[in-house]
Symmetry: C2
Subunit: 104 residues, 2 copies
């Protein structure tokens, strides 16, 4: 896992969700595609997806239940999980999570 | 004020200070110099500087008292304030602050 994302633009305004439980900044690649780098503070949240996503865990620990799944899976630093488009997932942040969300 | 910072690398790990009251991501420019894009949630904090800083306010409102000053100044979106190196400043975030910190 690389430590940084190179040759991008960063949007100065933050994305703040769930009363600040989730904070991210949007990163725009040369081809116009987007990622976000962010943090989720300890909480239990449900995220809806538009485009498919890959959530890369950079730090912290979370438990995730994808839409339609009955089991929770645990993810820590260096792991990732995929979420289908037009779907959702439940996430319980056990330790403050640092992540990169890759869209599309 | 530009809406984004172009041609940079973004460090995936976040910088989390003051129990999460301040969250930022480090941005590295082509010349190796650094900025950070971040958020400060409503709070009263004191920041210490190493290098001199320019704090560009992207969103929200804060009151700031520079080291040695007796007066508080209010800053909102589109404004900025400068902080000397090896100094400090008190900041009261009235509304969740989105900022870019320019170092050096």
């Amino acid at each position: 896992m690389s430590a940084q994302i190179d040759q991008v633009s960063v949007v100065k305004k933050a994305n703040i969700y769930f009363d600040g439980k989730c904070v991210s900044h949007t990163v725009v690649l040369a081809d116009g595609s987007k990622k976000s780098v962010g943090v989720i503070f300890p909480s239990s949240l449900t995220f809806n997806t538009g485009a498919p996503e890959i959530m890369e865990i950079v730090g912290g620990v979370c438990k995730v239940r994808l839409d339609g799944a009955s089991e929770w899976q645990t993810y820590g630093a260096g792991t990732e999980f995929k979420v289908a488009g037009n779907s959702k997932f439940d996430i319980e942040t056990v330790e403050t999570l640092e992540y990169v969300c890759h869209f599309g």
